[in-house]
């Protein structure tokens, strides 16, 4: 056995309990709704909690850069809890995407420069140029939309083009940008105040995940890593991002199922709790089956990536497809179980449904992952 497990170990269960208790104090339904519809990009008090009390922001960054050095399954536990609480803010963009891109690029100097501040929560960062609706629906391949060219012999690179669907770009202090170069995929570092950078907020169905369009007009940028730093970082993100999003989706799905079960036990109709009707019971049993199976697959996929198992690539597809479907299934079942109250603005159920819809499309639709699985044969 490689040490890859589909179960959480005791330490992970302990971390889960700690996070759930802490987040439940901050991420109530009204708070989520206020944040979703307010002007604030995210809740600074909550960010501070993640940083100080919970030490989450640098959780998976290497220890040499001031991070916690946690393996991916531990990061997955954190993401599940954040997903359950419908956390809205720059965690995934800074703590997952940027961290993994920089580590993946192999650029130790940039790592030493950026990651300690990022781990302390002082530097917010995100990744641009990961196109997530490419022909195969998967991130990265052919999906780098900014283009770079070396200028004037002084070593400055300039980025030109448009990167869509950038997560939490507002407020970010640094951007890691994937861009096509003559030598292949490059990975570059820039910042929002660079000349030629323009960040536009996109409207969105998912009220708790802010997406932007970033325009580059010959914006100066520094390359990360050696010549193949870009493709190495991209290859890493192509695997890690879908599974990390899957972990977040599992948390959202579990929350939806629990809310539905809770309602079904309390709500009476026709003289009985509605949860005693087979129509309700059996639907929720089917949701549980999907959620539990997707969770086991996601936990396993995180371990397979951490251990670089031979089935890691397969399990990325399995986890993202299964978790996206399970979350969508659970959010739909929650609204159906709630009935009219679930159709109101004030009930947070729709925020989860919106998140489930956006997550399905990001880092590969379930259908795209399934086609990859269907084509590949055994391993």
């Amino acid at each position: 056995m490689t040490g890859v497990s589909a179960s959480l170990d005791d330490d992970q269960i302990q971390l889960q309990k700690t996070l759930r208790a802490a987040l439940s104090r901050h991420c109530s339904g009204p708070a989520q709704l206020a944040l979703a519809t307010g002007e604030e990009d995210f809740d600074p008090a909550l960010w501070k909690l993640l940083l100080t009390e919970l030490d989450l922001v640098g959780l998976a960054a290497p220890e040499r850069f001031g991070g916690g050095g946690a393996p991916l399954p531990v990061l997955g536990v954190a993401l599940m809890e954040l997903g359950r609480a419908l956390y809205s803010g720059p965690y995934f963009s800074s703590g997952v995407l940027t961290t993994q891109a920089i580590v993946g690029s192999g650029d130790e100097a940039v790592g030493a420069e950026i990651l300690p501040g990022l781990c302390r929560g002082e530097v917010l960062a995100t990744v641009a140029g990961l196109r997530d609706d490419g022909p195969d629906g998967l991130p990265g391949v052919g999906g780098v939309v900014a283009t770079a060219a070396t200028a004037d012999g002084d070593g400055t690179h300039r980025l030109t083009g448009v990167a869509d669907h950038v997560w939490e770009a507002h407020g970010a202090h640094r951007f890691v940008v994937f861009a096509s170069t003559r030598d292949g995929v490059g990975c570059f570092l820039t910042h929002p105040d660079a000349p030629g950078m323009l960040v536009e907020r996109l409207p969105g169905m998912d009220l708790t995940r802010r997406l932007s369009r970033v325009r580059f007009a010959a914006a100066p940028a520094r390359p990360l890593g050696a010549l193949d730093g870009g493709s190495r970082a991209l290859a890493r993100l192509r695997r890690i991002a879908p599974v990390c999003l899957a972990a977040e989706q599992i948390g959202g799905a579990e929350h939806c199922l629990e809310q539905a079960v809770d309602h079904a036990k309390r709500r009476h109709q026709f003289g009985r709790p509605i949860g005693s009707f087979q129509a309700v019971k059996h639907q929720l049993a089917s949701v549980l089956m999907d959620v539990e199976a997707a969770k086991a697959a996601t936990v396993f996929a995180l371990g397979a990536l951490e251990h670089e198992s031979p089935d890691a690539a397969t399990m990325v597809h399995v986890a993202k497809a299964a978790a996206s479907d399970a979350f969508f299934h659970a959010a739909g079942a929650l609204i159906q179980t709630l009935g009219g109250i679930g159709y109101t603005w004030e009930h947070p159920a729709h925020l989860y449904l919106r998140r489930a819809v956006s997550g399905r499309a990001q880092f590969g639709f379930p259908s795209a992952h399934r086609r990859a699985l269907g084509a590949e044969g055994g391993h």
Binding site: H165, P203, Q269, G332, Q336, G339, G340, Y343, E346, H347
Partner: protein, 415 residues
């Protein structure tokens, strides 16, 4: 102005037994009054829609087409079910409404119910006022605690000194903010089994005992209201049908709700489908076969719905009760709308996720209005609205129970 005289006479109607003369008349009215390039009311802005509805309602009224099934003496045109269906089909095909936003409640639901259950005085008093818009009606049936169990309503009415005094809360009152009156289902006897102590009361909204609050739905819009009754009053004779015998009255009122939907929904859904097909299928290049097949399934189901509807219409025109078959129809279309709007999300991909705020405008449930712009924003909004389809007007769980018990004869559950 009541122009019932402009309708074909009884003699003409015998000749026009298949309604084709009436259809031609409706078509020419539409052709004369709709601008060139008209694609449906959904293409107009909110403000334009409001103006159009007002003008259009007036035109229908002038031509005796607002309450075609009502007898002539109450301001209707006394036309047959077939003619009602033809009018509905033609208006739906043209993408125009059959009245104002509240006429579904005033004309179709309350009006038809008064014709079956009301007293002669009630008919003479209320029906003309509905047509003239002196009274604009909304519905007070649903309650937060009752949910799908309508017999479980708690809003109470007591007869005190010759007036009904109403206390309680209603919810999901569409267009209540546009209404002057509400028909409200109340418990008038708590000492008997739930179905036996219910009455349907007619109540003015403009009184201190009524508080109407907008209810925002998950799409962010507020076409629904909550209505709070605190010692609200209505006259003793403002009860439709027997006191405490309101359950069958309420059931027949619900039967009139969107009665012609069986005939018109597939027409509307096919317009939706054509919009989606236009988005998904590039006539020049190849389309993903998975999407093509799902589009095909959506089309298949629209056509099946159309045929189910045609069959129900045959029954209706022949004077047979559609009965539980309306549950089959409801279940079918509610699944269609969810399946198809989910397909739209998959067709649109990230476009749906970053859709602008151009939601559906003035949608009349459950389908989008004809002419609705074919944008990512309208489809994203449609997807969200479609969540309600399997909940409202009898949840899918309730519909399956009705189908199983009344159409298949399967036994009821033990209580």
């Amino acid at each position: 102005m009541n122009t019932a005289g402009a309708a074909p006479t009884g003699g003409d109607r015998d000749v026009d037994s298949d309604g084709e003369m009436f259809r031609a008349r409706v078509r020419s009215l539409l052709a004369e009054n709709l601008p060139a390039g008209w694609s449906g009311i959904g293409a107009l802005s909110d403000r334009e829609q409001e103006e159009f509805r007002t003008r259009w309602r007036g035109l229908l009224h002038e031509n005796g087409l607002l309450a075609v099934g009502w007898p002539i003496e109450y301001g209707g045109s006394g036309l047959s079910p077939r003619e009602q269906l033809i009018l509905a089909e033609e208006c739906t095909t043209a993408g125009v409404p059959q009245g104002g936003l509240n006429d579904n409640f005033g004309v179709q639901m309350l009006g038809s119910t008064l014709l079956r259950w009301g007293t002669e005085e009630q008919r003479r008093y209320y029906l003309p006022r509905i047509l003239s818009q002196q009274d604009i009606w909304c519905q007070g049936f649903s309650e937060p605690e009752a949910g799908s169990d309508l017999a479980g309503i708690r809003t109470r009415a007591e007869l005190v000194e010759g007036r009904w005094v109403i206390n309680g809360q209603k919810i999901w009152t569409s267009y209540g903010h546009l209404a002057t009156h509400i028909f409200v289902l109340c418990r008038t006897d708590s000492s008997v089994p739930p179905h036996r102590g219910i009455s349907l009361l007619l109540c003015a909204l403009d009184q201190p005992g009524i508080d109407l609050r907008p209810l925002r739905t998950l799409t962010g819009e507020a076409e629904f209201n909550e209505v709070f009754f605190t010692d609200a009053e209505c006259p003793a004779d403002a009860v439709v049908g027997p006191v405490n015998g309101g359950w069958p009255v309420a059931m027949s009122l619900l039967g009139f709700e969107r009665g012609e939907a069986v005939a018109t929904l597939a027409i509307r859904f096919r317009k939706d489908w054509e919009r989606l097909h236009h988005l998904a299928v590039d006539p020049e290049g190849p389309t993903d076969p998975v999407i093509v097949e799902r589009l095909g399934r959506s089309r298949q189901r629209v056509e099946e719905l159309r045929c189910l509807g045609l069959r129900a219409v045959d029954s209706w025109v022949a004077g047979r009760d559609i009965g539980a078959e309306s549950s089959l129809h409801k279940l079918f279309w509610s699944e269609w709308i969810q399946e198809t709007t989910e397909l739209a999300l998959d067709v649109l991909g990230m476009e749906a996720v970053t859709a602008g705020s151009d939601g559906l405008r003035g949608v009349s449930f459950p389908a989008a209005e004809a002419g609705t712009p074919n944008t990512a924003g309208t489809w994203a909004d449609y997807f969200l609205r479609a969540r309600a389809a399997t909940i409202y007007a009898g949840s899918s769980e309730i519909q399956r129970n009705i189908i199983a018990e009344r159409m298949l004869g399967l036994p009821r559950e033990p209580r």
